[in-house]
């Protein structure tokens, strides 16, 4: 799989959608897990409704679908360590970092702009 070794790209996963209402969040997470094998310089940004993916206390029993939020806790083991949440997106939704299932770095909108500018590839979900 590592035919691509030598080239290290900054890949930014841009997560802007809420979980469960649509499948994008779940399938984006699958990309990130598989992507770990490629040993690139990856980061995940959660902004807009994407911040809801990290909400604590998800309980999907009555819905009858799998709760995939614990998987975010496993990201560390996959060496996905750069996990950012946009400050303004949380504020608009009445959330704080205490509401999130994993520790994240909070970035202002201005910082998000800068980070996007520094990435080589943006994958949008």
């Amino acid at each position: 799989m590592e035919e691509t070794a030598g080239e290290i790209k900054k890949i930014m996963y841009v997560n802007r959608k809420a979980p469960y209402g649509t499948i994008y969040a779940l399938e984006a997470l699958e990309v990130v897990l598989i992507g770990a094998a490629f040993e690139q310089d990856v980061m995940m940004i959660f902004m807009d409704d994407g911040v809801f993916q990290l909400k604590k206390e998800q309980d999907t029993k009555a819905l009858g679908v799998k709760n995939f939020s614990p998987t975010y806790r496993a990201l560390e083991m996959y060496d996905v360590e750069k996990i950012y949440v946009e400050k303004e997106s949380m504020e608009v939704r009445g959330l704080t970092v205490d509401d999130l299932i994993i520790p994240v770095e909070v970035k202002s909108n201005e910082e998000v702009t800068k980070m996007m500018g520094e990435a080589d590839v943006l994958l949008n979900f």
Partner: protein, 99 residues
């Protein structure tokens, strides 16, 4: 008349359009990503509170719980299960889905 809203108010304008168009005495049921419209402390809270003077607002419990926002739902929004959803559709004369 029962209105269902299934989209996040932070992503789409459907909740606002529903709030503006529903009649006094109607009911609104927040389902799927629409349940985010019931969150305390969000920028949409005041509009929802204001609407609650004229319409009853419900939220589907399975969707609230799965999104981990049970403790964030505004006072006055009543949680219902799927059976309660069915009851609402029979109690009101028709359903408008704000897709």
């Amino acid at each position: 008349m029962l209105h269902t809203v299934n989209k996040s108010p932070f992503d789409r304008h459907s909740l606002e359009r529903c709030l503006r168009t529903c009649a006094s005495g109607n009911a609104i049921l927040l389902i799927e990503d629409g349940v985010y419209g019931g969150i305390k402390g969000s920028i949409i809270e005041d509009k929802v509170k204001d609407a609650m003077k004229d319409v009853k607002i419900y939220a589907l419990e399975a969707d609230v719980n799965s999104r981990g926002i049970k403790n964030h739902i505004m006072d006055g929004i009543q949680l219902v299960d799927y059976s309660g959803f069915v009851d609402l559709t029979t109690e009101y004369d028709k359903v408008q889905s704000w897709l």
